[in-house]
Symmetry: C4
Subunit: 210 residues, 4 copies
């Protein structure tokens, strides 16, 4: 299994999952009242769509950053990568469930948001496992220096810690937990990549003048 | 992040979104009357499908024209590209909503078409932002000459202006606004690409004899 | 627009469309009777799935054979290619409609099959237009010799003629028309490619030892 | 038809199919009782999702292992590959049907699981046919030594035998049959690839230093 095909397949799965997010948006029905009222009532769906869209988008970016540095693709990595994708593919389902219950005001709003947090936590833990795997001898194109390793681990931990926090906050207020997940996605979009220096070096090694 | 992977991911998202447009077409139900009558009653769905199909098709073409000239992929570009895709992925939803209300004859037909225009305007503005980003020092393979820059800006503005017009016309007549969006898509299919000269030059630089 | 990106995008659209065919298969509902009876009652869905699957599969193969020989991608080709994809993306809808009415025994079974034939005819005509475009000066990697051109035209015409025949037969018997479409798909799978000799030559030119 | 395009198309179809598996997960409805109860009642959907996800994931891995060694792509291979994809695309449907009936306790739970087994058996047999085709003179990059051939055949047979066993066990207990299919997927994730030695050799031949 070449790295290129691992990336191509993962990209395709992530691309389909991010596009399926919009299937959760309910097309308003003329028999259910004024259109603007219906769209307004469905604001949790739109908020959930935006948060999940950027979350999946950033998963794609981070997946590339991770895999780009890897030299060998063994069975363990394939399994961890499938595990990661298993959680990514669950995101549209978790998003739809969460949005449906977000403003229900009942106990279920907490549980629906907790389910969403669990799926994202599973995704974050799969990433962590992939990172730990990559530290093994000869698995990375360029050995990660100890201090970069610590930084990368910390950055990865932010994900697992934040989604644990989203899980906890879910039981206080589901909309607050959604806001926290949204802030996390925006943070990751602009946060410096883990071992950016190495990545630049690798880009240079792996690509021609263009 | 390499340009190639940015293109591949964007292509996949756009390809899935364009194909999901057909999911909005309602399969007629034998218990709802004669088939031809049902298909005829659903003409807004078919008209909306054709207009949105060519609109997304041309987004794909223009995306390529934009990204082809870019040298570096930084975090800002990634964010702008995700923003563009966020609106592209909303097009099937906006199309379905618009088609459902197009011939309702009520106030809602105007609002549904306005929502469609807002999604396309968001897409056009994301393109504009990507273009402005690309003007920064050293971000393009070949510096865009001032006059080509003006032409490209003008061409980009046509998109943002037209979808603003579609928004305005929506409140006069929804079908007229749809026709305007359709004419725009056809215009873009045949309009000369922005800096076509540069693109040809770049193709030559970036590809071999085949 | 490079040929590679045209192929990649078209491949993705065709791949999504062929996979969406299975969404038309109704998952049996425990409250609607014995499972085997339900599956048996839905045989038109399965027959339609198989015929459309091989039809879309062969469209993919033929698309490659066509595009592989092309040197330049201009706006006209982009438009014709989008037109082809527009019909391909309609196939799941046309298949679902046709399968729903296939055994209704009413006038509507004829009309539903005719709609299916119209979508396939539109696809076949788009292919023909792409072929005629490719005959223009300098558009093909290797000029197609006159006799091969005639053979290729004939082969393309088979498609347009057969789907016209499917249309006509639809008004006699919808299941018979479906069988004809199925036989056509099988024929194309095993029929020699149009200018196979040229293609082999091109493969040699465009690829390395592997 | 180049091998690269055969792989790219197959990858895209498999990626869409694996992502569509999650569409089978029912988003709980606030009017149908407590969320946790609903999620708990739907455990067969989640179990079926996990088993089918890893099954399709491993199909993707094995498809790569098979195609990677092939030199020529002829019409027969194209047909066999389409046949394989036809069964892969049916997996989401078969999974949804199986999950719907898994705990129904009636005769239908056996039949639904048998349908699932039949689809997987069809997939396994298509793989076997592709393998047998590949043994023809000059079709593989490196001739498969006789003993490796026997091992590969044995490994392929495990698939066809296991899914025959899943079919048989389905009539004793559907959940037991699902567990057997799950164990098979896990086995294939970690089982050594068929002619791994050859594959390594080929990777070396077909790729540069990276």
């Amino acid at each position: 299994m070449s790295k290129a095909r691992l990336e191509a397949f993962s990209d395709a799965v992530i691309a389909v999952a991010i596009t399926l997010l919009a299937l959760d948006l309910t097309v308003p029905d003329p028999e259910h009242g004024a259109l603007l009222t219906q769209l307004g009532d469905h604001w949790p769906q739109f908020a959930a769509y935006v948060v999940s869209f950027f979350t999946v988008g950033i998963i794609w970016v981070n997946h590339h950053a991770r895999v780009n540095l890897i030299v060998v693709v063994d069975r363990t990595l394939l399994f961890l990568n499938l595990l990661l994708l298993l959680f990514v593919v669950l995101i549209p389902f978790a998003t739809a469930t969460m949005a449906t219950y977000l403003t229900s005001g009942s106990e279920d709003s907490h549980i629906a948001m907790a389910v969403y947090a669990v799926v994202l936590e599973g995704m974050a833990l799969s990433f962590t496992a992939m990172f730990e795997w990559s530290l093994g001898e000869g698995r990375m194109l360029v050995a990660v220096p100890i201090d970069q390793r610590r930084k990368a681990r910390l950055r990865g931990s932010i994900g697992t810690l934040v989604y644990a926090a989203v899980f906890a906050v879910a039981f206080i207020s589901a909309p607050l937990a959604l806001a926290l997940a949204g802030v996390t996605a925006v943070y990751y979009v602009f946060a410096p990549v883990p071992h950016a220096g190495i990545e630049a070096e690798v880009e240079e090694l792996t690509s021609g003048p263009l």
